[in-house]
Subunit: 292 residues, 2 copies
């Protein structure tokens, strides 16, 4: 049995945040304080946790941070007006509307209303197009950006590698595939999904396997080529009576059986998760620089 | 030796154009005449041929067609003003700036200036994003749209199929991959390119192989799985002293040796080529409907 390299997202994220902190200090000497606004509609507990941790990270870095909590019954037009006000606010460089909003909100219309120069989530059509066009002035969605950063920092060569991305979402799968196939990364990329035939065989081709489906421990040992690098984007709660909380977190990869086969693997938690928030901060810094 | 189905782009394109003609006649009864403006800068002979054939097809369908020929020394600002005037012209529903423009022109900036609702080439960031987001109100670039139409009309099932696209351009490779992996098509899609390792082995996995690289007869018999469907997007001129013109047209696929292996294949010429212009007309009709 092999001992794989653990791609420690926690420590890589900490290093990214250290860089952000230093850069923020430098910007502050020029009178620029990066500002991130997070808009939360309703009181979903998981969303509140995310929003809280974003605000905390902002504070740690010296960012200006604005948390706007709106009642669940906020109308579309009221929400759009909040976004417009943030677009016009010179102290705010990044705007994020916590997903998912209540059902009566048209999320896509809200995203379109965000000034693309402040769209640090990278979901605005302008930024989606820039990703396809490989224009580095755009914002890359935080989770795939975090995966790429982990690969880069860990010295994993994507050039000519066979990468397989399981999942074709707008938030992870598609942008991840576009990043891997770009002229910077040069991987051969396969996008697989729930409708793919013989998913295990497809995954076994991968030098770099990215799982982003949201199905606990779906990727088994016989899905993985010995020596592969495995990036597990899934964060799933599964019931576990042995835990005080009643559940444990698990990825899309059956870690115990897969890890011994890999040359490198991300744990869950502590792999991709911490990278996402770090890249959000990096995007906000980029916005502050580009807008100043 | 097998006898493959020839995916006859000429006849499929003719059928698409027949539909367009019928729909145009119907729109005319409502006082709407679809209008396409083609802007040509300089006097590149190949571009003139393309522009001429677009104008001819417009005339055949009953479209209003406007050909704007500008001298090679036209400035960026002059060209942008022409685009703005066309954006404002209610008789024009589709705007196309023939590529490639002279070197001093910033083509991307010109594309961004086109009203996305008139961007029948599908290259504007708004339409690129709509393609990624699978929003059918956008315009799909004509060549990949033509390939998809050929597959559809020929009854080729993409669901769960392994598709390999060689080439990662903005005009063909990437949009083709996005169309094939969409929730309508559901193919497992691999994007391969010049930096891929062992391209023949990757291509041999394909149930549907799309070659869009611009290298004459690159795809050989041992690159193709028996029974595969092969879509050849390449149109290359190779010297041929036996021809009056001194050249012949050939695709990216070595047709003679590959065809006997395939279940279906597009010829060059007469495959994807005629589809491109047919889809341009279809896009212009879509624009006329959406703008009216």
């Amino acid at each position: 049995m092999n001992s794989p390299k653990i791609l420690d997202g926690k420590s890589v994220a900490a290093a990214v945040l250290d860089e952000c902190r230093a850069e923020t200090a430098e910007l502050l000497t020029k009178g620029i304080q990066p500002g991130l606004a997070v808009v939360l509609i309703g009181s979903d507990p998981a969303s509140q946790v995310y929003v809280g941790s974003k605000a905390r990270t902002c504070a740690e870095l010296g960012f200006h941070s604005l948390k706007i909590e709106l009642p669940a019954e906020t109308t579309q037009e009221e929400l759009l007006q909040v976004v417009r006000d943030l677009n016009a606010d010179p102290a705010i460089h990044g705007i994020l509307v916590q997903s998912p909003p209540p059902k009566h909100i048209d999320e896509e219309a809200v995203i379109r209303e965000i000034d693309p120069r402040k769209d640090v989530d990278g979901f605005h059509p302008e930024n989606v197009a820039k990703l396809v066009l490989e224009d580095p002035s755009g914002f890359v969605p935080c989770t795939p950006a975090g995966c790429m950063k982990l690969l880069e920092v860990s010295g994993i060569n994507t050039n000519g590698a066979e990468a397989v991305v399981i999942g074709r979402s707008m938030i992870v799968g598609k942008p991840m595939a576009l990043l891997l196939v770009s002229k910077i990364s040069n991987a051969t990329v396969t996008i697989a999904h729930s409708r793919s035939k013989d998913l295990p065989a497809i995954c076994r081709r991968a030098d770099i396997l990215v799982a982003a489906v949201g199905r606990p421990e779906m990727v088994k040992a016989d899905w993985v080529k010995p020596g592969a690098v495995v990036i597990d984007v899934g964060i799933n709660r599964v019931p576990d009576p042995s835990k005080k909380s009643g559940y444990r977190l698990t990825g899309d990869v059956a870690y115990q059986e897969v890890a011994p086969l890999c040359s490198a693997i991300t744990p869950v938690p502590g792999g991709v998760g911490p990278m996402t928030i770090a890249m959000l901060m990096k995007n906000t810094l980029q916005a502050a620089r580009q807008l100043s």
